[in-house]
């Protein structure tokens, strides 16, 4: 039996998908030109699949802060916080995150994936229950596997279903911890936080909100869904990432629970990995100041979201239920989705292709992520290209006004 024999079905699936002419999961951005453009297959391509919601990756202030930290503190920390010490930048960023979220404690993780993996696997023990949304990100599912708590899944964004499942656990002594996301990464919809909080309070449960895709996007100060919904005080722990609106890599968790800092010596994905390079910490610290102080970025982002969502909706594309910087075009057939994705890339527009089982239900998705730095003429070109290809591939009904 060969070492990779059991991957044969996956190898076949990848071959099938790649038969469109390219591997959708292996696109090379040969040269990145800006937050919205890169060279792909030798061709200048508009980026609509970056999660770079505020376009800060090339912001002069972030780049300068990173460069300066690189010169002053070197290329890397070469170790973990517990074994090899904390650089002052890491500690300052943790304080800045705690202050921004108006919490007592902040922890920085090396990736957003590890932030979820670490927090969720550690806060719930063998007698406790994790109640997770059925559309949860892979990092949440993996956290459930790493930890020892009992895991119950509830129907996506369905507070009534959550209530029913918590009711069944009413005789259990262990803690119940509910995990939801500010914006779900595939469909771009938000959790019904008000209803979730009511259910949490009714059952005396705890609540963790993953603001990975909503940080910088929702709320007057950009803190995410909890701020947007006016429910900051009802969330026990907020988890998030530096790799989307903040334009770098890394993750964090903030909380006002008095014992929260114990995670530093109990949470394995925090403890047993090298900490982020000083340059990343510096650019993230600067980006955090920018997203708080410059609501204009969010205004630009939402103006772009409205334009693209309304244009695609008018053209007849089937879209996700909620307007957000993640606009998911639904395509029933996996083959058609792959074909349209490849046609778009050929025409100079890069979007993300998402296929089942990574998607909810059995739908395939062309996942478009909008950026505050997209110029209107770029978005017009993108909509025009989508419309042309939509009609040519019979995804759209014919004779619609192109670019309407």
């Amino acid at each position: 039996m060969g070492l990779f024999d059991r991957f044969q079905p996956l190898i076949s699936s990848l071959d099938e998908v790649s038969a469109c002419g390219a591997n959708p999961f292996g696109v090379n951005l040969e040269r990145v030109l800006s937050p919205t453009e890169a060279v792909v297959n030798g061709k200048e391509t508009l980026l609509l699949g970056t999660n770079n919601y505020l376009g800060l990756t090339f912001d002069r202030r972030c780049v300068d802060a990173a460069r300066q930290a690189l010169e002053v503190s070197g290329t890397g920390t070469t170790g973990s916080r517990i074994a090899n010490g904390s650089y002052s930048g890491h500690t300052k960023l943790e304080q800045a995150l705690a202050a921004y979220y108006q919490r007592d404690h902040g922890l920085v993780f090396t990736t957003g994936y590890q932030a979820n993996l670490g927090v969720i696997s550690t806060i719930a023990g063998p007698d406790d229950f994790l109640l997770i949304d059925s559309d949860s990100h892979a990092s949440i599912y993996d956290a459930c596997r790493l930890g020892s708590a009992k895991v119950i899944r509830f129907k996506h964004n369905d507070a009534k279903d959550l209530d029913k499942r918590l009711q069944r656990l009413s005789g259990e002594k262990g803690n119940k911890v509910i995990i939801v996301e500010g914006i779900y990464s595939m469909l771009g919809d938000t959790a019904p936080l008000q209803e979730i909080v009511e259910i949490k309070n009714k059952h005396g449960a705890y609540l963790v909100v993953d603001e990975a895709h909503s940080l910088g996007v929702l709320g007057a100060n950009g803190r995410g869904l909890a701020e947007h919904a006016g429910l900051d005080d009802d969330v026990d722990i907020i988890v998030g990432t530096f790799s989307k609106s903040l334009g770098a890599v890394g993750g964090f968790a903030v909380s006002s629970h008095p014992e929260f800092e114990i995670l530093r010596v109990a949470c394995r994905p925090y403890m047993f990995t090298a900490s982020l390079p000083p340059s990343v910490i510096a650019s993230v610290t600067t980006a955090l100041e920018i997203i708080e102080k410059e609501p204009k970025l969010r205004d630009n982002l939402w103006a772009n979201v409205n334009y693209v969502y309304d244009s695609l909706d008018r053209l007849g594309f089937r879209l996700g239920p909620t307007k957000s910087p993640i606009i998911a075009v639904h395509i029933e057939s996996r083959e058609l989705a792959t074909h349209v994705w490849h046609e778009l890339l050929g025409a100079g527009v890069y979007v993300n292709l998402a296929l089942p089982p990574a998607t909810p239900g059995s739908t395939s998705l062309l996942r478009c992520s909008i950026c505050a730095a997209h110029k209107r003429e770029q978005l017009e070109a993108i909509v025009r290209t989508l419309a042309e290809i939509g009609e040519r591939t019979s995804l759209l009904p014919r004779a619609r006004a192109v670019g309407a």
């Binding site: 059925s134 596997r145 119950i152 899944r153 209530d163 029913k164 009711q167 089942p356 089982p357």
Partner: protein, 92 residues
Amino acid sequence: MDTAEKIIEMPMSEDYVFQETKKILDSVNKSGVSVTGDTNIVEDLNVDSLAVMDVVMELEDKFDISIPLNVISNVRTVNELVGAIKKIKEEA
């Protein structure tokens, strides 16, 4: 809330649990093979991990129990699943 959904308590035979489990599995079975006690749920029925978790949710509602995903992570066959459900129901 949801008292209407509460199932009236009554002892459940192994066969009853099997038949109800089979009904739910039949609805996701893409392979065409018929579901028996020895059927390997993932391999024989050609269902992905997400579909299996959806089946678990339906079973929870059908039998009004909690089936923690990690508790049944070692379950491979339909009989093992039926056994796990019986055990949870009896302990409830």
